[in-house]
Amino acid sequence: MRDQPAANPPYKLPPPLFDARCRACWMVAGLLLLVLASFWSLDLQVAAFFSGESARSMGRFLAEFFPPDLSEPFLAKVGVATLETLAMSALGTLLAALAGLALALALPASRLHDGDRALARAPTRLLLNALRAIPELVWAALLLISAGLGPLAGTLALALHTTGVLGRLFAEAIENAPSGPGDALRAQGVGLLKVTAYATLPQVLPQLVSYSLYRWENNIRAAAVLGVVGAGGLGQLLAFHMGLFHMHKTATLLAAMLLLVALVDALSYASRRWLMR
């Protein structure tokens, strides 16, 4: 009688919502606390923001945007700024790809083969992480001091941040490449330079190119706003006209920026679709 299984499996209560032994519960509780503390400490004027007065002022503000300034000379200026943005992003990415490759190879951030002691690996990785941790905009603000206002600071800022990102990706790609061809050359007594040029690079080149193109896409978006601190491109015009309350011109610039971002997104989506087919 005792061994007979119950006709119906016993009804199990669901586990309690909070259990002192469950780490996820403590983490969720911590997150909730963080959210509450954030709202409490920031004294946001969210209530004021959703009040009637603020809605009216927002409405007035938006109405000032219309109509956007579409006069010929201004459009030409926007066109030049757009080209400048594109040029900044392209040159910045190119410089970063070269510098990233140099750092990944010359000061090997990558362990090139099993016997490689790679003494420079740890310090180079540290440098790459530092370059990557500081956003483009902060680099641009720092570089303004030595490069002056204008697109040069923006280009160099993009190059520095992207060097950190690409250098790390490149180093990982090189380390993960199959070591067979390189080992074969090394066994014949071929030097490091030739092994790199004829065995390592040909294997990873497609990957490096695709990483660089991906970063270029990100950099176009970044370059559009970099100018807000004075580093050239569309952002600089935007900050300038917004500061002087030229709302019609600001509207045109915002539209141009949106158009550029949308175009880049669409192109990247289309090319991905085309390549995946």
Partner: protein, 280 residues
């Protein structure tokens, strides 16, 4: 140089791809030239005596970093504000993203169960999806610039900017995650007459909760990074202090704050990795 003076090259050693390589290299140079002109790329400007002097003085100022008690306390307060702006922004972004996800997810459409979605719901979904894309494609820095004009300097502009951009981003990605999962359980629930919310809570959520959480935590980490940047246009936090210290050329303060910032990013990276491991 006289060509005849060169020693003859063994034809087996000649690079067969020499001419294409030279052609591509020169074409690249020709293409690069206008680019360099367009961004006024004159790196030698960096090494002019005047610029070198200013840069040198600024960099020399980096050491020693400013470590006064009052300054450190201010940095700590602003660092907390940076984290708080990101957290509050993401929370408000969830308020935008969750309803938008419920409305745009294709799996929750009842009419799509039997063939094509009806026209009304389809148009509603498309309209919402496009507005999410619009929210997302305006960079948060531009939102912040606009909101600083409307609500004034301070953290409110930063929180709203993050809420709008990340709301669009989260909403779009959430509905993509829900749509790309296995729809079987949800469809069965819907076919048997459960409501859409019930189908979401009992069909979709258990299946996708891990992925949704991990994406949200990752975005929180990104928001911390971008809330520093937002400070540069006056939206409060570490960025605003960094900006004003840079404008006063006080290298010691800049050095301290850059160090704190790099530490904050590294910490957020660790915390987010731990959270994703435990929650997912």
């Amino acid at each position: 140089m006289n060509v005849a003076a060169l020693p003859p090259v063994d034809p087996r050693l000649r690079d067969p791809a020499l001419w294409p390589r030279l052609a591509w290299a020169s074409a690249a140079l020709v293409l690069l030239w206008p680019l360099a002109v367009a961004c006024e790329f004159r790196p030698w400007l960096l090494f002019e005596a005047e610029n070198l002097r200013v840069t040198g003085r600024f960099l020399a100022d980096f050491l020693p970093p400013a470590l006064g008690a009052e300054f450190l306390w201010m940095v700590a307060r602003e660092t907390w504000r940076t984290v708080a702006i990101a957290t509050a922004g993401i929370t408000l972004a969830l308020l935008i993203a969750l309803p938008a996800t419920l409305l745009t997810a294709r799996v929750l459409s009842v009419s799509a169960l039997s063939g094509r979605m009806a026209r009304g719901p389809f148009l509603l979904r498309q309209a919402l999806r496009w507005s999410l894309i619009l929210l997302r494609s305006v960079p948060e820095l531009v939102w912040a610039l606009v909101f600083v004009r409307v609500v004034g300097l301070g953290p409110t502009a930063g929180v709203l900017a993050i809420a709008l951009t990340y709301g669009g981003m989260l909403g779009k990605v959430y509905s993509e995650i829900l749509d790309s999962g296995e729809p079987h359980a949800t469809e069965t629930l819907l076919r048997n007459g459960s409501g859409r919310l019930q189908a979401f809570f009992y069909g979709l959520l258990p299946q996708n909760a891990g992925e949704l959480t991990s994406y949200t935590v990752y975005r929180w980490e990104c928001a911390i990074r971008s809330s520093v940047v937002l400070g540069f246009v006056g939206a409060g936090g570490l960025g605003q202090q960094l900006d004003s210290s840079m404008k006063m050329f006080s290298g010691g303060e800049v050095a301290t704050m850059l160090g704190v910032f790099v530490g904050l990013v590294a910490l957020a990276d660790r915390v987010s990795a731990a959270l994703r491991r435990v929650l997912a």
